[in-house]
Amino acid sequence: MNGFLTYVPVILMGVWNTLILSTAGFLLATLLGLLMAFIEVFSPKPISITVDWVTRVLRGVPLLLALLLVFYGLPRVGIALPNIASAIIGITIVDSGYQAQLFRGAIEGVGERQLEAAYSIGLSKWAAFRYIIAPQAFRAALPGWLNEFTIVLKDSSIAYAIGVTELFTQAVHVAQVVLDYLQPLILVSIVYFSICYPLSIISERARRKLLAMGVAAV
């Protein structure tokens, strides 16, 4: 052993920032994604098409580019943010485009027939959304939403590029000190895996359970 073990706590300290980054970025992206999905589904054509186009652009932005743009680019126009805040904003921007697509598919997938049935028993537009469309769309989106979090979690390692002291950054720093990349990176892999694996299991279970109920996940 080349002193790696003494540095394990240093690496694990990075877990907190990784979780803060990815959870905050992901949940903000959920809010923004829901908002854009609602606009796409429920607003008049020109607005809906514009927002759809915005989500496409967002999905086309590489995360690294977004991070560099927010952290190094925005100060030029007078907006200087700490690196962790920049990372959260970058993740939010890029991921909201994907989540908008996920939620839109989930809402539209519920289908005209369910809506007609809701109207036929006398539910108002709002009640039909609240009691029929929303619950079914929520269920349909759930497995994909959980999967999306695992992707964001792993992608948050790109915050390394703007110096956020998250899991991956810590591991690289330790590697440079102990002159060994293998052990720190294996440890990091284990950490990512032990967060992502349970989530993917839950996602898969949800998917199967929903299928048995006749709700196809998006």
Partner: protein
Amino acid sequence: MKVVLEVSNLWKFFGKSPVLRGVSFSVREGEAKVILGPSGAGKSTLLRCINLLIKPDRGSIILDGEEVTAPGVNVARVRSKIGFVFQHFNLFNHLTALENVMLGLIKVKGMNRDDAFKVARESLLSVGISEDLWSKYPAQLSGGQQQRVAIARAIAMSPRLVLFDEPTSALDPELIWEVLRVMEKMSKERMTMIVVTHELGFAMKVADEVVFMDSGAIVERGPPEEVILRPRNERVRRFMERMQYVYSLK
């Protein structure tokens, strides 16, 4: 006998083509009216107008003395008084059979859960859905069971009128009878209903009046024996000959 529904001179255009061309008829309390006619005749469009799912371009619909096609009418309130049974059942996928029936009672009629449960139980039992099926989701039920739950969902709301749009067309032949039998029972219990169907046997047994539609208009109407067995209109005769070929066992 009291008139429940009065449809007068109903017109509906999709684009430039007329789909309903001045349809008029009325339905008395407890009556079962069967609508026959070829594909594209406008039968579904007619039912969807009555249920205010689409807005007719001209003409009026009066339900229980209230003109429901007038501007400013509370559409949801009118719909809660009309049951609709769909060709593809359209049960709420995320709710169990029992919850499908209870939802409207709670959210539309404002009942508490206990009262809603009592009403839902009566409705489900009356269509022959026994307790072991109440906690099943639609995907776990056969087509015939789904359609009977859908009927229970409609009648639980104690509607003034129930509309059926080809309720057995999506069912395997062996399951058709269980749905038709429930509908026959409803009619015997004097539920007012309008049924769009191709089941001539059902029409013969249950209909008080048969209405034949073609190209958006009513071309013949009368007692089932008249319209089905001795049609006067040429178009109706041709239709019935074809149906004879399909259904006759002789």
